[in-house]
Point group: C2
Chain length 297, copies 2
């Protein structure tokens, strides 16, 4: 098993970055990851006003995946996610979906233990460890804090252990990186931060040759989802819908009208996050009604 | 039990409409409802291009609920929903989330039986009978095809038998109406129509005196949701978030910052529909983490 340590961080996905590791298809890889703040927030007196922002949103990598070539689809099998006990959540003035309200920077340190996040004595939430940032390197350098067709800071609460992520490959070796684990996050990530934690991701790569995912595709036990984004939620919803309707046309050989109707019944638009300049919407389709092959081009 | 027949339809919620029935609190009421097209689409040769649009989006009612007074909250317990076997779905040029694409008016008649919607031979979907339009009468006349704080054409796929809906009362007797059943609809209702069916709704009214729901609130087995709307999905998401954060402040006695953080972990933003001029987003909160009392003002 290859292990990539926590100090191998990148802050942008860039074709210029040298890979920190080369891995073979099927080989288990353990990525150790830093929290979104680079571990800078140690107690509730630390707040975002004293952060070194150049150390924020780091992702562990990049990893060169052997045989991955542009026009392939990288398969990322998330085998396990472990999160540390200490989590951090913050409010950042002028950030989040209620950015126009007046409020202060504030910090809460929470304990994650026995499957729960202890936010307050009378308010604990079931933990749901998930990956905030995961992607391959696009042709043009892109900050790890942003998202796009290459993945990135997608903040999808369903991106948990046991799922598979399909990403379009843009560069030789894919140059994959991941980080920004959350112990729990709601659909929307309303205040701009979730329970940010350091931890470990155990994963394994596969490859689908000469087939492309137009958007990242997430596979869970019972469904597939296109993970789209756009400047507004409405734009993101539109892109997710287009991807779903085109997939139905390929799956069933229908015309646009028939596939559009079917989308109205079978493609659920769900919100990933609303707090990045690019908003994220997923189109979720039951595995009864679509095959992966029709979702690729 | 009071029965309201299918021909008692309104096309706007208006304080001027005479109630078609007076009911007592706790008394079961059976509403017979017409499909969204007023039964005008009988086969696949009928399309929206030949519709009489003045007979579209009818709701059965209005019903005067005894003792309901402005500033109360009306409780609508959905005891049962029955849908007919024949469902209709259409595409309407320049409508739906992909309105800017070029496509034709088209109609599909589908059979709803044994718990499934048979869209095509090789594409059947589990039925999920739900109410598209349900609301009380606001102060100002509003078309039944639109939505707002009074409810209306909210198209929430979770509004099924076994749920409870809480609506703010604006007029004496609330003047309640419902209709527009769907045999199945995805989150988003992408193409502007779902599987539109006629049917029956069995319900019962209750009342919470001197407490107000700022937005309609839906109660399912395990969660509550604020049902907000806005001119864009982003606006609707903002309103749903504000409602959730304010409810957390009341529930836990927290300041804004603490409640905003908690929203990022515990309030899930989900999409109702994206195809009305007003888009709909719900903020879903587990019953472990909120009480109804804190959601009312």
């Amino acid at each position: 098993m290859k292990i990539v340590p926590r100090n191998r961080l990148i802050y942008s996905f860039s074709p210029q970055h040298k890979p920190v590791e080369h891995v073979k298809l099927g080989e288990p890889v353990l990525l150790k990851t830093e929290d979104a703040f680079g571990g800078q927030i140690k107690n509730e007196k630390d707040s975002v006003s004293t952060l070194d922002w150049s150390n924020v949103d780091g992702a562990t990598g990049p990893i060169f995946v052997e045989n991955a070539t542009p026009r392939d689809t990288l398969v990322v099998e998330i085998l396990d996610i472990k999160v540390e006990e200490k989590g951090v959540i913050v409010t950042v003035p002028k950030c989040g979906i209620l950015a126009e309200k007046r409020f202060k920077p504030s910090t809460r340190i929470v304990k994650v233990s026995r499957g729960y996040v202890n936010f307050e004595k009378n308010a604990r939430i079931k933990a749901n460890p998930m990956i905030g940032t995961v992607g391959v390197t696009p042709k043009k350098e892109t900050p790890t804090g942003s998202l796009g067709r290459h993945g990135g800071n997608m903040d999808v609460k369903e991106l948990t252990a046991g799922t598979r992520l399909y990403l379009p490959v843009f560069t030789e070796g894919a140059l994959f990186a991941a980080g920004d684990l959350h112990a729990v996050q709601s659909d929307g990530e309303l205040c701009v931060s979730a329970v940010e934690v350091s931890g470990e991701i155990l994963l394994r790569f596969g490859l689908i040759k000469d087939k492309k995912a137009e958007w990242p595709i997430l596979e869970a036990k019972d469904w597939f989802a296109f993970l789209a984004c756009g400047d507004t939620l409405d734009d993101a919803a539109k892109s997710a819908t287009e991807a779903a309707v085109e997939a139905f046309m390929r799956e069933y050989g229908w015309n646009f009208e028939r596939a559009y109707m079917f989308g109205s019944l079978a493609a659920n638009l769900e919100i990933n996050q609303v707090v990045d300049p690019k908003k994220g919407v997923r189109a979720v389709i039951s595995k009864d009604l679509i095959t992966l092959d029709s979702m690729l081009t």
